[in-house]
C-alpha cells in the first residue's frame, strides 16, 4: 500500500501510473523566472495609492517565505512516507517547481524593493508582521505534527500523515496561496502589475497541480485503507480548514484595512469560505460555509487565455514534445 513503510524502487509493473502521468505533464509545463517580465510593474507601483501599496507590500512579504515552507514539508514529511517510486518522481518534480517559485518571488522582491533596508525587512516579514507570523505558525505546527515520525506503522500515524498532507494541499497551497492569487488578479483586473500576474499564472498552474496530486494521493489511500477515513478525521479536517480560513482572514484584514473598490476583508472572507467549501467537497466532505464566490475576476482565471503577442508572452506551450518526422499523419 502507498503508505506502507519502506523504500520501494520498483517502477515496473507500475502500481500508480496516474502519478507518473502527472510527473510527465508537469515536465511539459516547465517555465523559468527569466521569462517573466517585471519591468512594467515598476511604473504601476509608482502610481498605487498608499492603501494599495500596503497591500502589495504585505502580499509579497508573504510570498517571500510561503513556497519555502511548502518545500520544507515536502522534503521533511511527504517524500519520506509516500512509498511508490512514481509518486516520488512527482514529488521531486514538485520540489523543483517550489524552487522556481522561491526564485520567482526572490526576483520579484529584489525588483520591487530596490532599497536594501526595505528588502531585508520584507524578507524578515515572518518575524515581525503578526498576520504573516500567524500563518507561518499554523504551517510549522503541522510540519512538526509528524516531524518525529520515521515510519507510519500505526493507524494513528497514517491519520496524522493524512492530516499533514491535507493541510498542505487544502489549507496552504489550496487556501493561503489561492487567497494570495486573488489579490494579484484583483490588481490585474484593474490593469495593474501585469508582470506579477503573468508569473502568478504559472505559479497558480503549478500549485493547482500540486494540490491535485495530493488529493489524488488521498483518494488512493482512501481506496486502499478506507477505515482511516472516519468521523474523527472528518472533524479534524474541518477544524483545520476553519483555522486556516481564520488565519487567512486575519491576513486579509491586515491587507485590506477599510477596503478598496472591489476588494475588502469581507469580500475576501466570502471568497475564502467559498474556496474552503471547494476543498472540503473535493475531499468528499460536506461543505462548511455555503458561500458564493464574490470575485467575478476569479471566474476569468478559469477561462483559457488568448494573448496578443505584442503585449505579453504566451505561456501556452509545452516542452518535451515527442515523435519523429512523418508525412502521413492526420492533422
Amino acid at each position: 500500500m502507498l503508505l506502507d513503510p519502506g523504500m520501494d524502487l520498483t517502477l515496473r509493473p507500475m502500481r500508480y501510473p496516474d502519478f507518473y502521468e502527472r510527473y510527465r505533464a508537469a515536465i511539459r509545463n516547465t517555465w523559468t523566472v527569466e521569462e517573466v517580465d517585471l519591468a512594467s510593474d515598476l511604473a504601476d507601483l509608482a502610481r498605487l495609492t498608499p492603501e494599495e501599496l500596503h497591500l502589495v507590500n504585505r502580499l509579497v512579504a508573504f510570498f517571500a517565505t510561503g513556497d519555502s515552507i511548502v518545500a520544507n514539508n515536502l522534503v521533511l514529511n511527504l517524500y519520506k512516507h509516500v512509498n511508490a517510486p512514481e509518486a516520488r518522481l512527482y514529488l521531486s518534480r514538485q520540489l523543483f517547481e517550489e524552487a522556481v517559485h522561491v526564485q520567482f518571488y526572490l526576483t520579484l522582491l529584489d525588483t520591487y524593493l530596490p532599497d536594501h533596508d526595505e528588502r531585508v525587512k520584507a524578507f524578515a516579514a515572518i518575524e515581525h508582521i503578526p498576520s504573516i507570523r500567524a500563518k507561518a505558525e499554523f504551517c510549522f505546527r503541522w510540519i512538526d505534527s509528524i516531524g518525529k515520525l520515521d515510519e507510519l506503522t500505526t493507524r494513528d500515524d497514517r491519520r496524522a500523515f493524512l492530516l499533514n498532507l491535507i493541510c498542505f494541499a487544502a489549507c496552504i497551497e489550496g487556501l493561503f496561496f489561492y487567497g494570495a492569487f486573488a489579490y494579484v488578479y484583483w490588481l490585474r483586473s484593474r490593469g495593474l502589475l501585469n508582470g506579477l500576474a503573468s508569473g502568478t499564472n504559472w505559479v497558480f498552474r503549478d500549485e493547482s497541480m500540486h494540490m491535485e496530486f495530493a488529493f489524488s494521493v488521498v483518494d488512493t489511500v482512501r481506496a486502499e485503507e478506507p477505515d482511516l477515513f472516519d468521523a474523527d478525521l472528518t472533524a479534524s479536517v474541518t477544524r483545520m480548514i476553519e483555522e486556516a480560513v481564520e488565519a487567512e482572514l486575519a491576513f486579509a484584514r491586515d491587507l485590506c484595512g477599510d477596503g478598496m473598490p472591489g476588494m475588502s476583508a469581507d469580500d475576501m472572507r466570502r471568497y475564502l469560505e467559498y474556496v474552503a467549501d471547494q476543498r472540503l467537497t473535493r475531499l468528499g466532505l460536506p461543505a462548511r460555509y455555503g458561500t458564493a464566490n464574490p470575485f467575478a475576476f476569479m471566474e476569468l482565471q478559469d477561462v483559457q487565455e488568448l494573448s496578443n503577442f505584442f503585449e505579453r508572452r504566451v505561456s501556452a506551450y509545452q516542452i518535451g514534445v515527442e515523435g519523429s518526422v512523418a508525412f502521413d499523419e492526420s492533422f
Binding site: 505533464a25 511539459r28 509545463n29 516547465t30 523559468t32 527569466e34 521569462e35 512594467s40 492603501e51 489561492y178 488578479y185 483586473s189 484593474r190 490593469g191 501585469n194 498552474r205 493547482s208 491535485e212 477599510d258 477596503g259 478598496m260 473598490p261 472591489g262 475588502s264 471547494q278 467537497t281 473535493r282 464566490n293 467575478a296 475576476f297 476569479m298 476569468l300 482565471q301 478559469d302 477561462v303 483559457q304 487565455e305 488568448l306 494573448s307 496578443n308 503577442f309 505584442f310 503585449e311 505579453r312 504566451v314 505561456s315 501556452a316 506551450y317 509545452q318 516542452i319 514534445v321 515527442e322 515523435g323 519523429s324 518526422v325 512523418a326 508525412f327 499523419e329 492526420s330 492533422f331
Partner: protein, 764 residues
C-alpha cells in the same frame, strides 16, 4: 481624510443608478439591478466615477452569463470617456483637434484643415456609432488609441473624434473625410494600428511593417542595422530582419585572425535592443529574425527561444522564422543529406532562389564548401520541435514567395524575408528597407441580413481602402531614409480582411465545408479584382509607381498567372482588368496581404483575419486587464434551443470553450461551433492555398494543435509547402496542464470527466 467628498453616497449612487438604467436601455436581456447589486460604496469610492468603475467591471464580468452586458459596460465606459474629455474642454471634434494641436500632438496642416471646416466636420460626427462597440473594443480604444494630454494623461478625444482624426489625417477634402469616416464609424474597415495611433500626428509614422535585409557580414553594417531597427521600432513598426548574410560560428575573422562566435551573440544584442525600445509607451518593440536553413548556425538559431539551457544563448523577445528553399523540403521528403554553409564562403546563396539557388547550392556542395552535412530530416524534426515548444520558428517558403512576387521580375531584386507577422513579401537590399501600410476590411460587416455577401458594398469598401492606403504612403513619416526610398519607389500596400469566421457563422457554414472554401476564395478574388482596379485608377490619375518598369505586371504577368489552377469565377473581369492595367499600369506594386489584425479586430468586435474561432469562451489578456469573450452567435443559437442555462455555461467553461460534449445540441450546431482545436488543420491550409492566387503578398496563417507531436507537425508543414502556401505563422498549442478551475464546482468537475460520460448531467 483630506479631500471633501463630492456628494453623499446616496446621491452618487442615485446618479449611477440612472446611468446604468440608460446603459441597459433597449437590451432586453440586461437588467440594471444585476449590475448595481455588486456596486458597493466603500469610503474610498463615494464619487460617481468610482462607483461607475465598479459597475463597468461588474457588467464586463456578467458577459459570461449574458453577452448583452458587454454593451452595457461599453456604454458606461463611454460615459466615463465623455466626462474625461469634457474635463479637458473637449465636447466637439473641432475642440478635440484644437486641444490636440495646442498640446503639440496634432500637426499644423490637419489642425488648420479642421479649423477651416469646423462646422462641416462636427456635423459629420455620428455619436450613435459609439453603440457599435463591444466593451473590449471600446476599452482597447480608450486605453491605447485615444490621444491623451501629455501631462494630465486625460483623453483629448472621444471614440468618434478619434476616428474622425484618423480620417482627417488622410484626407484632402471634407468629402474625403466623409468617405473614410463612413467606413471607420461603421467598423467596416480599419487601417492598422500605427495609422490609428499616428494619423494627423506631428510624427505621422503610419506603416506597420518594416523588412530589413541582412546586414553585410561586417561589424559596421551590423551596428547600422541595430540603429535602423531601433529607429523603426520607436514609432510602432514591427520589424522583420534577415541574418543570413552574417558569418557562422568558427569562421575566420581576417582582421584579427580570430574565429567568429557566429550569429547568436549578435542576436542577443538585437534582442536587448528591441526590448529597450518602448513604442511610445503603447507596446514593446517586436522583431522577427529570418534565417535560411543552410546557414551553419541554424541549429543554435532554433534554440534561441528555448526556456532551458544557457541563458546567454537565448533571446526571449525575438521571434524566429525559417526562410526555406524548396530544395530543403525536397531533401526532407527524400530523406537525403543537407549541407550547412558559412555565408562568408557562399555569399551568393542569399540572393538566389528557385533553379538558380538549387544549382548554386549543389555546386557549393560539390566544391566541398560545406561546414557540415546533416540529415535533412533531422533538421526538419528540430524545426518541428521548436514550433511545438515555443510556437516560434515559423515556416516560410523562399521560392514560391519570390517566384510569385511582382517585384522580382529583374534579377537582383530578391525577397529575402517576410515580416514580423509573415504576411508581407517585398524586395529588400542593403540600401532598401521594405515598408508596408496595412488595413483590413471587416467582412462580417458586409453580409446582408438575408445571409448573402453584399458584393457591391465590398467592392466599394475596397476602392476606398486602396485610395486611402495609397495616401498613407505620401502622408507617412519615415524613420529612416532606406524605408522612405523603398516605399516611394514601390508604393506597396497590404489590404487584408478580418471577420471571415463571422461570415461563416452568419451564413452557417462550417469552416471546413466546401461552401466555406468556395466563398472564402470568391471573397479573395473580388477583393483582389477591386483593389487592382482601384490601383489602376490611381495610376491613371497620378502615374504608375516609379519602379513599375521593374515589375512582372509591366511584363504582362499578373499574380494569378502564377497559379494556373486558381478558382477564377470572373474571367471576363480579369480580362478587362488585364487590358486596363496594360494601358494604365499600377500605382502600387503589391496590394493584398492578410495581417493578423489582433488589435483592430478587437476594436471592430470581430474574429481575427482569416482565422477560425479559438474558443467559444475565452479571455483576452492585454495591458489593460482581462476580458471575457464569448461567441455571441452560439449564445443566440443556444437561446433559440432553450439551452442557455447555467449548467450549460458551466459545461462550456469546463470544456475550455468547447461545445462538442453538449449532447442536447443539434449536430449541425455542434459542427458549426467547433473551435480551431477541433477543426482539421488541413482545412485551414486548404482555404489558405485556395486563396493564395488572389493574395500577391501573403497571409498570417496560424495553425493549431492541442498536443503537437513531431509526426503530426512534420506531416502538416510538408502538406502546407506542397499546397503552395507561401508562409505560415505561429503554431498554437495548449499547455500540458492548466489551473484547477476555481469557480467550477469541485465535484461536478469529477463527474464530468471523460471516464464517466454517462453520468455527466450537463451533457444530457
Amino acid at each position: 481624510m483630506t479631500q471633501q467628498l463630492d456628494a453623499p453616497v446616496e446621491t452618487a449612487r442615485g446618479v449611477l443608478e440612472a446611468e446604468v438604467g440608460r446603459a441597459c436601455a433597449g437590451l432586453a436581456d440586461a437588467e440594471p439591478g444585476r449590475v448595481l447589486a455588486a456596486v458597493r460604496g466603500t469610503d474610498a469610492a463615494t464619487d460617481v466615477a468610482g462607483l461607475r468603475e465598479q459597475a463597468i467591471g461588474e457588467a464586463a464580468a456578467l458577459v459570461a452569463v449574458e453577452p448583452a452586458y458587454s454593451r452595457v459596460a461599453a456604454r458606461l465606459l463611454n460615459a466615463h470617456i465623455a466626462e474625461e474629455a469634457a474635463s479637458q474642454g473637449v465636447r466637439t471634434f473641432a475642440e478635440s483637434a484644437a486641444a490636440a494641436h495646442r498640446e503639440g500632438l496634432m500637426a499644423d496642416a490637419p489642425a488648420a484643415f479642421v479649423a477651416a471646416n469646423a462646422d462641416a466636420l462636427n456635423a459629420l460626427v455620428d455619436e450613435s456609432a459609439d453603440d457599435r462597440f463591444e466593451y473590449f473594443g471600446l476599452r482597447t480604444v480608450y486605453d491605447r488609441y485615444l490621444w491623451r494630454h501629455p501631462r494630465t494623461r486625460r483623453v483629448l478625444e472621444r471614440p468618434q473624434f478619434f476616428l474622425m482624426r484618423v480620417a482627417v489625417g488622410l484626407a484632402e477634402t471634407v468629402d474625403d473625410v466623409r468617405e473614410l469616416y463612413g467606413l471607420l464609424s461603421t467598423l467596416s474597415y480599419l487601417p492598422s494600428s500605427p495609422t490609428l495611433f499616428n494619423s494627423a500626428a506631428r510624427r505621422s509614422q503610419l506603416s506597420s511593417c518594416f523588412l530589413l535585409d541582412a546586414p553585410r557580414d561586417e561589424l559596421e553594417s551590423i551596428y547600422e542595422r541595430y540603429a535602423q531597427v531601433a529607429r523603426l521600432s520607436k514609432y510602432a513598426g514591427g520589424i522583420g530582419v534577415s541574418w543570413t548574410r552574417v558569418r557562422s560560428r568558427g569562421s575566420l575573422i581576417q582582421g584579427t585572425n580570430g574565429l567568429s562566435n557566429g550569429i547568436v551573440p549578435w542576436l542577443r544584442t538585437l534582442d536587448s535592443s528591441v526590448a529597450a525600445v518602448n513604442q511610445g509607451g503603447r507596446r514593446k518593440g517586436a522583431a522577427c529574425v529570418y534565417l535560411e536553413p543552410w546557414h551553419a548556425d541554424v541549429e543554435e538559431f532554433l534554440e534561441l527561444r528555448d526556456n532551458t539551457g544557457e541563458d546567454a544563448r537565448r533571446t526571449h523577445n525575438l521571434n524566429l522564422a525559417n526562410w526555406i528553399p524548396d530544395e530543403f523540403m525536397r531533401r526532407v521528403e527524400r530523406d537525403e543529406d543537407w549541407s550547412l554553409f558559412d555565408p562568408k564562403v557562399t555569399p551568393e546563396l542569399t540572393d538566389l532562389y528557385g533553379d538558380d539557388f538549387d544549382r548554386a547550392y549543389r555546386a557549393a556542395e560539390a566544391a566541398g564548401k560545406a561546414v557540415r552535412t546533416i540529415s535533412a530530416r533531422r533538421l526538419y524534426g528540430r524545426m518541428m520541435r521548436t514550433l511545438a515548444e515555443t510556437g516560434n520558428g515559423w515556416m516560410t517558403f523562399k521560392d514560391i514567395s519570390n517566384r510569385a512576387c511582382n517585384q522580382t521580375a529583374e534579377k537582383g531584386n530578391v525577397v529575402h524575408l517576410s515580416n514580423l507577422c509573415t504576411e508581407i513579401l517585398e524586395v529588400t537590399s542593403d540600401g532598401e528597407t521594405a515598408v508596408c501600410n496595412l488595413g483590413s476590411i471587416n467582412l462580417g460587416a458586409h453580409v446582408l441580413p438575408g445571409g448573402t455577401v453584399d458584393w457591391e458594398r465590398l467592392r466599394a469598401t475596397v476602392r476606398t481602402a486602396v485610395r486611402f492606403l495609397d495616401r498613407t504612403i505620401d502622408r507617412g513619416f519615415y524613420p529612416t531614409g532606406e524605408a522612405e526610398k523603398a516605399n516611394k519607389k514601390w508604393r506597396p500596400m497590404g489590404l487584408g480582411v478580418m471577420g471571415l469566421a463571422d461570415v461563416f457563422f452568419k451564413l452557417r457554414l462550417p469552416f471546413d465545408s466546401d461552401e466555406a472554401r468556395t466563398l472564402s476564395t470568391r471573397i479573395a478574388e473580388e477583393i483582389s479584382l477591386a483593389a487592382y482596379g482601384a490601383s489602376a485608377d490611381l495610376a491613371e490619375a497620378h502615374g504608375p509607381h516609379p519602379a513599375y518598369d521593374q515589375t512582372r505586371t509591366a511584363r504582362g504577368q499578373l499574380h494569378i498567372d502564377h497559379f494556373p489552377d486558381a478558382a477564377i469565377t470572373r474571367p471576363d473581369a480579369w480580362d478587362a482588368l488585364r487590358a486596363r492595367v496594360a494601358r494604365t499600369g499600377l500605382r502600387n506594386s503589391l496590394l493584398i496581404a492578410v495581417a493578423p489584425t489582433a488589435t483592430i479586430a478587437s476594436i471592430a468586435g470581430c474574429y481575427e483575419c482569416i482565422e477560425p474561432q479559438v474558443s467559444n469562451l475565452f479571455k483576452r489578456e492585454t495591458l489593460s486587464g482581462e476580458f471575457l469573450q464569448i461567441n455571441q452567435y452560439l449564445v443566440r443559437d443556444l437561446k433559440a434551443e432553450g439551452l442557455w442555462l447555467p449548467e450549460v455555461r458551466e459545461a462550456i467553461k469546463r470544456a475550455n470553450g468547447s461545445v462538442q460534449g453538449l449532447a442536447d445540441l443539434p449536430d449541425d450546431v455542434r459542427v458549426l461551433y467547433r473551435t480551431a482545436w477541433e477543426l482539421p488543420q488541413k482545412a485551414l491550409i486548404d482555404l489558405a492555398a485556395a486563396r493564395t492566387p488572389f493574395i500577391d503578398q501573403s497571409q498570417s496563417l496560424n495553425l493549431f494543435m492541442e498536443t503537437p507531436t513531431i509526426g503530426k507537425l512534420s506531416s502538416m508543414y510538408a502538406y502546407a509547402w506542397r499546397s503552395g502556401v507561401k508562409t505560415t505563422y505561429y503554431l498554437r498549442s495548449r499547455p500540458a496542464t492548466r489551473i484547477a478551475q476555481t469557480t467550477v464546482s469541485a465535484t461536478e468537475a469529477v463527474i464530468c470527466s471523460l471516464e464517466n460520460p454517462e453520468t455527466c448531467e450537463a451533457c444530457q
